[in-house]
Structures are given as structure tokens and as C-alpha cells.
Symmetry: C2
Subunit: 323 residues, 2 copies
């Protein structure tokens, strides 16, 4: 991890350590919101300090009563210009919360709104300096000040070795991603399915990679909820992309896979159990597999875009008009 990134995240974590923390709010929109889900998952399992994810505008308009001086509010906007996320950050700061904001743009409105802004690099960078790397540093850093533990220090050390795991996983899936793109080029609807730490990735693949960037209809079905409604839409020709995790919720994904494959001939599975994560300590694999899956997913979207002749950069509304 770059020196300035280490300095930024350590400053934020030290500030959290100096406070008595009552709750943690993770606030953002769309893909930036989805990328906070694994952190919420980790907090929920590792500490009894409650952590919740909100979409920024909902957070602004119906501010939770628990927001106050005992709160840590973590926000994110890639451009640092998402108005509702900037407002959420300002609101949190007004209420006395400790604010940490992630942005790719230094000195953006979001950067200025937060007490502890943190920069991250984008494509082509090492995992440790990426958005996921930086929020994992903050997540495990906060856990380590709440209840110091070797496991959390190991997690932070893992950030610097994860890129190798990601590279291998992408290589493992390169042919499969291309097959997915070819097999689904005519589909107007593709469902995603996941649970636990993978749910955020299923959500962002559905609403960002498919709906936004590919104009393909979708819904991110929770693997447990699948049996309480959505499974009735399963048929031989209905495509599903299932993210099978290796966290505590794997049994939910296995159950969904078993059923779904029986009644649909078009189920694609990205199984984290196949990843070679040998650099990751055993007890932390459950938390790191989700981000590896997220990187692999990008290649599935790229392949689909290529076969459909609809680049992921094309938009009809976003950035092209006021809304």
C-alpha cells in the first residue's frame, strides 16, 4: 500500500480509536453502496457495535435517530461529486459523527465534506490501493482498535498479497467469462444470486454491470430468499449467475444451486472454493473471497459487453442530462 494511503487510513482509524463508538453507518449509492456490503458483513460478525448500510438519499431524508456523536459514518463516491452522498456526509458531520469518506478524487466536494477523506486508486493499481483494499484497511483497522487482535493485523497484512490471488482467479475464469458472454449475448434478462459477503457483488452486477452498463434486465436474488418467492420464475431457459461463497452462508448458496440447476439449463456458478487463496490466512478466507469474486465478475461483464457489441461505457441518461 502506498505511503499516503497508509497515512490516510491510519489517521481515520486512530480517530475512531480515540472515541467511544455507538454505531457505524455505511452510506453511498449504487456500486459504491454495494462495495460497502462486505464491510457491513465483517462488522456484523466480528463486533457487537451495530453497522448498517444506507442509500445516501434515504439516509439524508430519514436520518436514523441513532446518528450522533457516537457514530462513525463511512461514505463513498468515486467522483466525489454524488450530491446525495456529499449531503449525507455533511449531515453526519453536523450531527457530530466521525466522518470517513472514500473518493478517487482528492479535493472533490465529498473529500472536503468529510473529516477523514481517503483516496483510492482505480484500474491497474495493486489491490491494497484499490477501493476494496482501502475500505478493508479501515474495516479491520476499526475492529483492531475496538478489540485488538492478531487476526485483524493479519487481515491488514493480507491486503498486500491479495493481488496475486485476484490475478490467478481472473486467469482461471478467462475462458469461462468469454463463454458466459457468448452464451448470454441474446438474453434480455439475467438474474444474479448470492448471500452473505457476496450479496453486494450480486447487487452491483445486477444494477450496475447489467442494468446500467448493458441494458439487460436483472434482479439480485438472495440465495435464502430464492425459496420464498423468486424460485417460481426458474425455468429451463432462465439464466442465473450464482456467486457461491466460502463464508458462513455457503450452505444457502449450495441449496440454491442444487435447486436452480435442476430446473434451469442456464446456471453459471462462480465458486470461490475454486480460488487459490493460499496467501490468505485460513480464518480470513471467508472475508477475502468476496472481493476476489467481485474482480472476476468484472471480466464476465466485459465479455458480455464484447459479444453484445454494447461497451460498458455507453449510457443513454447517466452523465448526458440533468436528473
Amino acid at each position: 500500500m502506498k505511503a499516503e494511503h497508509i497515512e490516510q487510513y491510519k489517521k481515520a482509524v486512530a480517530a475512531v480509536g480515540a472515541k467511544k463508538i455507538k454505531n457505524i453507518y455505511l452510506v453511498a449509492c449504487g456500486g459504491s453502496k454495494a462495495f460497502m456490503n462486505p464491510s457491513q458483513y465483517i462488522f456484523d460478525l466480528e463486533t457487537d457495535v451495530p453497522a448498517a448500510v444506507y442509500s445516501s438519499n434515504e439516509f439524508v431524508h430519514r436520518c436514523p435517530k441513532g446518528l450522533g456523536e457516537g457514530s462513525v459514518v463511512i461514505t463513498c463516491s468515486h467522483s466525489g461529486n454524488t450530491p446525495e452522498t456529499v449531503r449525507a456526509t455533511s449531515l453526519a458531520r453536523e450531527k457530530g459523527a466521525l466522518t470517513i469518506a472514500f473518493s478517487n478524487l482528492v479535493d472533490s466536494p465529498l473529500w472536503k465534506a468529510a473529516e477523514y477523506p481517503i483516496h483510492y486508486d482505480w484500474t491497474g493499481c495493486d489491490f491494497a490501493d484499490s477501493r476494496y483494499g482501502m475500505i478493508y484497511a479501515v474495516t479491520f483497522g476499526i475492529l483492531n482498535v475496538l478489540a485488538p487482535c492478531e487476526k485483524y493485523e493479519k487481515a491488514i497484512a493480507t491486503l498486500d498479497v491479495l493481488q496475486a490471488c485476484i490475478d490467478r482467479a481472473k486467469e482461471l475464469h478467462s475462458v469461462r467469462a468469454n463463454k458466459f458472454g457468448k452464451d448470454h449475448k441474446r438474453d434480455s434478462l439475467i438474474y444474479t444470486m448470492a448471500s452473505g459477503s457476496n450479496y453486494g457483488s450480486a447487487y452491483s452486477f445486477a444494477i450496475c454491470l447489467l442494468m446500467e452498463m448493458s441494458w439487460v434486465n436483472s434482479n439480485s436474488i438472495h440465495s435464502g430468499e430464492y425459496f420464498h418467492g423468486p424460485f417460481e420464475c426458474t425455468d429451463y431457459d432462465v439464466p442465473f449467475l450464482l456467486l457461491k461463497g466460502i463464508d458462513q452462508c455457503r450452505p444457502l448458496d449450495e441449496r440454491a444451486e442444487n435447486f436452480c440447476k435442476k430446473y434451469s439449463d442456464r446456471v453459471t456458478v462462480i465458486d470461490a472454493a475454486e480460488f487459490d487463496l493460499h496467501e490468505v490466512p485460513e480464518e480470513l478466507k471467508c472475508y477475502f473471497a468476496a472481493v476476489v469474486t467481485d474482480y472476476v465478475l468484472r471480466d464476465y461483464a466485459e465479455a458480455l459487453a464484447d459479444h453484445r457489441g454494447h461497451p460498458l461505457t455507453v449510457r443513454r441518461y447517466m452523465w448526458r442530462m440533468e436528473y
Copy 2:
């Protein structure tokens, strides 16, 4: 409200009042999970005791660290037989949490698993004795023991007058519901959209009424998230059913409506501002409008089923096989 229902909910609320409460978990599957969303919304706005909703099997497999003696766990299963919800209740009880379970079936496995089981009536009953009536009694009852307040007493009194509001809203929408059914009979995909206290209803309409009972593809889009991905799927022929609330999040729904109507000719809006809720105290309308919307939605699903010749009772997997 029936005497035995009053007795059951008061017993549960008194038990909560006798404890020091640290957190509230609302745990169920599918439609039963969705119906807990308004309660989570109310708790979140009215108390700083954290309240979170979980799908039962996820709660069981990755039990949050905050679960313990200071927890109140509220579960629901209509049949009282949903295995993962029964397990979630037993697990919560083992961990020392106070357990309250809603079921239509007295002496069901869920009923026996919980310390405080609560019965509710089903179709044809007065609102106060329905599932929503009973959970609102518990929700405002808990708020009233946490911080006694006339507003919460008024909310409980409102349960007995809400049926009149529901009847009028259903009447107002009878022609519109039929038109919705006719206009959408050929659609293989209908999106729902909502925010705040209505989001649970948009979710259950999407995954239960549409996907499960009508075999129509869907996704419940959050009105705020719409602009961060899903809106790119909007086109002149893409159908949306928007629930426009009168709670704190109304501005999110208005923004989504304005955009969506500009680019789709097939937007149906159920606007709670049109409901005559004159029996409901002004400061509580924001919390009661959502349940009225939920009742109206049922008629939209019935009308769609009628025009499609696919009754809401038809299933291909549910109840017909092991899964």
C-alpha cells in the same frame, strides 16, 4: 382488536419493558420478511436502539455478534412451519434473546419455539387483528416502553380505525387495479419501485406477487438507487409500478417518478397522498400509509392474475416438492 390478541401483544411488550434492550432483530423469509420493513423503518426513526432485518437462513448461518441477552428477536412465519425461521427463533432463544413470533397457526413449531408467540388473523379480518395490525401493536408498544409517549398510544388506538382507510383506498383503486391488470397481461417483466416505509411492499410485490405467484420477472428498485444504475433500463415500453409514499422519503419517489415518466409510457403510480386517512393522527400518517398501500397492491396482483388467467394460488415448485 380481539381480546386474546391484546393479551398476547401486551404480554410480549411488557416483557420487553422489563429488560434492558440493546438491539432488535426482525427475522423472517420472503413476504414475512418484507412485512417487517415498516417496523424497522419506524424503529430507526423513533429510537436509537438499533433494529435490523435479516432473512432467516442468513441469520442462522452467520449469527450477528450482537445477538444475546440484550436482544429482542421478532420472527414471523404464516404457517409457523418455515424451518429456517423456526431455527432462527430457537437459536435466538438459546442465546438468551427475548423472542416474539408471529404466526397464523397456534401451536405451530414456530409458536412453540418462541417465548412470546402472537397469533394474527388472515383474510377478511379487521386490520387490527391482521399481521400488520399485530406487528404495529408490538412496534409502537415497544417504543412506548422504551420512551413512553402519547404519540405511541395514539398509534395503537389507530389500529382499530385503519380498516376504514384501507376500504376507501381499495375502492379508490378498484378501476385502476383492473386497468393495470389489463394493460400488463402480456408483460413478462414489471419493475416495482419504492423507498422508505414502502420498500418492503415493493419487495414483496416483486418477489411474491409477481415472481412467485404470477411467474412475471421483476426487481424491486429503490427510488434513490434508481439513478445509480437501474434507470438505464428505462425505455418507452418498460413497465414500472411506483409506490409513492407520504413518509420522509417522498422526495426520492417524486424524483424517480419525474424521470421515469419522461422515458417510459408505462408507469403506474400508487400515490399514498391520494388516500383519505382522516382517522389517522397527522404525525402518524407517514407510518400508516405504507400498510394501506400494501393492501391496495393485493388488488393489483389479483387483477393481473385475472387478466392473465394465472391464479395467484398456482405454483410449480412451492409445496409440490422437497427443496
